[in-house]
Symmetry: C2
Subunit: 661 residues, 2 copies
């Protein structure tokens, strides 16, 4: 139909109107009366459509450029295309349409014209990043809805309705060789009857019909899951726009089988069939989250056609129904280090019955799909210089590299940074101490708790805070660093200050009295040791990666997860948690694993990208590296002379040591 | 490794021993010590193996030819290969091995040798046909087991066990790019642990791992289902040998929702959710049959990895979980006329959890996958001349054609031929009259009943037969034909004989007293009409196909199903059920639909074949053909002057009429 100038071997009539599409600049001549959408399609201009030119979906909106375009020799104005007809007016009344916008399926070219395709009308577009996120998300939908009208059967031909649907999708949309889910075969005739032969189908990856609905439906949804040991979070996204329409989180109900991962694996080893219980409860929580976010957004669960999953290796295995016992003991063998793509129903997740689940690949036995999500979200390979990305949970996952090379490792920090195994420790929740300052002379502390903006030495503090319940990860790091800066701790981590109102002795061991309430919050010598062990493991892991990479400094550090969001990086540097780096290049990455799940949900191409990257990542197993032990022992001490302003000095020392190596 | 003469660009050393494989004649030179199996593989000789050369499966047996082979210049004898070693002796003790047979994976070539590959050692082979079957079945397994040893994981590499399995299958078996079922990912590590890193996997269609077992397992099974409205039959087959190891059948429990198909469809239309009940009960019956045949064969249900299904369109839809309501009213639209290939679990069939179901395609709204099975089993296109294949159930399905062209139609015979809607009618079961003779002078009948070899006029008959319960399809055809031959019926089907001991009158209508017991079995005028209508429909359907094909005679007729197996073709011809044909070329095809299901189970290529054929078949819809009504009316009469010897005369008349056309 269209005689595009860009078309090969097509003889263009120069009397036919020219259409130039902006911003792509694609142009061609088409017979008068050609729909702008058809012209765009034949030129390969990216304009979305669900209804196939029936003025129903409003996805194909364009604007006619106004003015003289000397470059193209076109004087363009709204009059150069046909005025809006009845169908377009109906759409404008029903759904609303900006005055300058036209539906390109209805607008027909009259004479030479320049047409702007706004970003929101493109199938492929960018979603602007949120704070902390490293880059915009590209929209490249995994599932796309197509509205079609399927001819009614007649006695004269014996085809099935599925074959008639296939023909309609070929004719109207150019879709060829589609396979289909069994549920679609089951539901098709009912949908055709209910929709008076008009249906909308969801096509996944361009090759498989996964759902069918009667009539017209233009919005499909997906859910990005971040399944942590402690928390399960879900983000409901509109697949076409990338918009997050609802989010929710809840405790991982597996906690009843064990607070930490290893005790859950022990539970499975000790209780036959125990994995089924852990599998069931986590899937149940995921289904409850789906119900919750679908309810919040006011959508039907059947409109959710895709989910993505990131989690640590044990969570990832359990969600997929795989026993994690092999991950409980050396050599920590994954069932698979590939991505897993299956029907959501196969793992008991209740979305549209034909919907799919995509589980990101694990990187190694200790470096999970959550780390793959971080890698996708942070994309250290896109940055100049060497980036270190740290995601601290029960273990710390570390990614180091640049455009040339990426290394990954897991470091056994234990759960001290999350407040576990600390005498007064707790999760980051209202009532937990999160900031601490200690007077260098009096050793008197002041602190802030979550849920209150006041410091504890503010007269109004006692009125505002009902109870100080414990100390969370960021508070522990600050108190230990402040104890060191105030001279209460030596560089070896021993409590050296004389016994006083704040330093007490019980038997042979000393504690620092941080809060004398009920409960009393003391920082014991054991607590300090736990933090030392954790920070030494983290530091040693980073150093080991740096050694393997062949660098003794990193150019930027990104701290992912709740740890990264709450920690004051100055104190992280004081304690030596992370390697030396300009403080201004140390920042929080937010919930990068969850962002990775969202990217994988919205951008088909990102899946191929992460699968390739995960294969290319060099995995360093800290447990078999003798150097890790050396680094670990060396990192036990609190850096000598360290204070918040000491970064610069130590950086220069770092550079010198490189020359020595 | 191998330097085959047939290999392109390989320089062969003429000092290396030559191996010639018979019957293929493939030959090549190989280094001394090459395993005969490896030599065969590198030459593309078809030798089966499951264990991959470990002397476990015994599938790779060969025989060394003895004697001088002048053509090859080889003096061959058992001494030309290495003698059996320990592994082969162990196999011989454990599993038994014919004296002249060797395991080709153990036998290594010493000097020039001729090796016979018996048919039983080939992956692709023929299963000799059973009586009534049209041709041998080719074995071309859909699922093949592969035994592999998967290296243990180490701390040094981060791969998953699935990836290690993939590597092992690539290295040992040359299998590339395998996908896998979610159940395999779930079961793999457990199987690797239980099998001490040795597992057997089932690979489907060469591209998908569908099951995994610990250790070595060499026999996999499939079930061919023939799902009829009345009876569901299942045949358990060894996939590698094609052997039927157990068969069972049972009543279709849907009968409780309606004896015939249309009353079941009515049930669904009248009862919301009714289709789920019909779906559940038929699947339940299929699962019970699986349990029964697996028990009979003494195998684990998990060893069943594939099923195939044939049925009429309504049964096929219900087994697949699709509501058949569209098939209940014109235009009788199929949900799909393609084959359906899905996990057995998706349709609630309990075999190996990764096992698949293949449902043959329906040909048209009234011509089901059972007819496709008949087409596969009968392959009329492979015969010279024009074949007519008739499968009579509630409807008669007709296939007509030759190598050039195939036509199909369904004719609304109703269930009279099955004994339904006949006053004394019943299914073919012990006690039912199946043969009838009537004395032309006395009108006295004699008959035989199923379950007794004696005629009713035999003095011992009364002792042998407990009760005459009714009359089945073949009996009805014979009694009506005999009534006509005895002058009791006129050519128009009216009972014309005077009232007598055997011809009685009740009100305005006459009956023939066939059996005066309890129950009494009378052949009423209505019964005769029902048979006339049925035979007219069948005949008219055949004539319509012949007209469309452009022939007025057929060269052979095959009668499929129970009808074909029990009917005396002479009487079928007397009544004019089937078109004229030499009686010697009219034969029973046995349970051709079930045979088709078995072919589709055992021969991968047959699936592609039937899918193509079904597309190519010309479908004739009797309901929209005005000519059908004409033929139908014309066929109501019983052929004038017809008697068992009249075929020849009528054939000649047929030829003359062709010339007139």
């Amino acid at each position: 139909m269209a005689a595009g100038e860009t078309g090969a071997g097509v003889v263009a009539s120069h009397k036919e109107p020219m259409i130039v599409f902006m911003p792509s600049g694609k142009r061609g001549r088409f017979p008068r009366g050609t729909a702008v959408l058809d012209a765009a399609r034949s030129l390969g201009v990216d304009i979305d459509s669900v209804c196939g030119g029936r003025a129903l979906c409003g996805r194909c909106q364009v604007e006619v450029a106004d003015g003289n375009f000397a470059k193209h020799g076109i004087s363009s104005s709204a009059a150069n295309i046909t005025p809006a007809g009845e169908a377009e007016h109906r759409f404008r009344e029903r759904r609303g349409l900006d005055q300058v916008r036209r539906l390109s399926c209805q607008a027909r070219v009259e004479t030479d014209v320049v047409v702007d395709v706004p970003a929101s009308s493109q199938v492929h577009r960018q979603v602007v990043r949120k704070p902390n996120e490293d880059h915009d998300i590209t929209i490249n939908p995994v599932v796309h809805p197509y509205f079609v009208e399927v001819p009614a059967p007649t006695l004269d031909e014996a085809h099935g309705d599925l074959e008639r649907l296939g023909n309609a999708l070929r004719t109207e949309w150019g879709l060829e060789g589609l396979r289909c889910e069994p549920t679609v075969v089951r539901d098709l005739q009912g949908a055709l009857a209910a929709g008076k032969r008009q249906v909308t189908v969801a096509v996944r990856n361009g090759d498989r019909i996964i759902a069918v609905w009667p009539g017209f439906r233009d919005t499909l949804y997906g859910v990005a899951f971040d399944v942590g040991s402690t928390t399960v979070a879900a983000h409901l996204c509109e697949l076409a726009s990338g918009k997050v329409v609802a989010s929710a989180g809840r405790m991982n109900p597996q906690i009843r089988f064990g607070e930490d991962l290893m005790s859950r694996v022990s539970y499975i080893m000790l209780n036959p069939g125990g994995e089924d219980r852990l599998i069931d409860v986590v899937r149940h929580a995921m289904n409850e989250l789906i119900g919750e976010i679908a309810g919040e957004a006011g959508i039907d669960v059947a409109a959710i056609v895709e989910i993505t999953i990131v989690g640590n290796p044990i969570m990832q295995h359990l969600v997929l129904g795989i026993s994690p016992v092999e991950l409980g003991t050396a050599p920590f063998a994954l069932a698979t280090d590939s991505s897993v793509d299956l029907r959501a129903a196969d793992i008991g997740i209740a979305i549209n019955p034909g919907g799919y689940a995509y589980a990101l690949p694990c990187i190694a036995g200790h470096v999970g799909a959550d780390a793959a999500g971080v890698l996708l979200a942070e994309a250290p390979q896109r940055h100049e210089g060497v980036s270190l990305v740290v995601d601290v949970g029960t273990n710390a996952e570390l990614l180091l590299g640049n455009a040339e090379r990426l290394l990954a490792a897991s470091s056994p920090t234990g759960p001290a940074f999350e407040g576990a195994q600390i005498s007064g420790g707790q999760r980051a929740a209202p009532g937990a101490i999160e900031r601490v300052r200690i007077d260098k002379d009096t050793h008197e502390p002041r602190f802030k708790v979550i849920g209150c903006d006041l410091w504890s030495d503010d007269p109004a503090f006692a009125d505002d805070v009902q109870q100080v319940t414990g100390i969370c990860g960021s508070g522990i790091i600050e108190v230990v660093a402040e104890m060191f800066l105030a001279g209460i701790l030596g560089a070896d981590g021993k409590i050296v200050a004389p016994v006083s109102a704040r330093v007490i002795e019980d038997g042979r061991t000393r504690s620092y009295v941080l809060h004398d309430g009920n409960p009393a919050i003391h920082i014991t010598q054991n607590d300090v040791r736990a933090i030392q062990l954790a920070k030494a493991a983290l530091h040693a892991g980073a150093k080991l990666l740096m050694e393997h990479f062949g660098t003794d400094r990193v150019d930027r550090i990104r701290l992912a997860g709740a740890f990264g969001a709450h920690i004051d990086v100055t104190y992280a540097m004081v304690l030596g948690l992370i390697p030396e780096c300009d403080l201004e290049h140390v920042s929080s990455a937010g919930n990068a694993a969850g962002t990775g799940a969202r990217i994988a949900l919205l951008d088909r191409a990102s899946r191929i990208e992460i699968e390739q990257q995960v294969r290319a990542v060099v995995k360093i197993e800290t447990a078999v590296e003798p150097r890790f032990q050396e680094y670990f022992v060396a990192a036990m001490a609190i850096p000598g002379g360290a204070h918040p302003a000491a970064g610069e000095t130590r950086q220069r020392r770092g550079r010198r040591s490189k020359r020595r190596d």
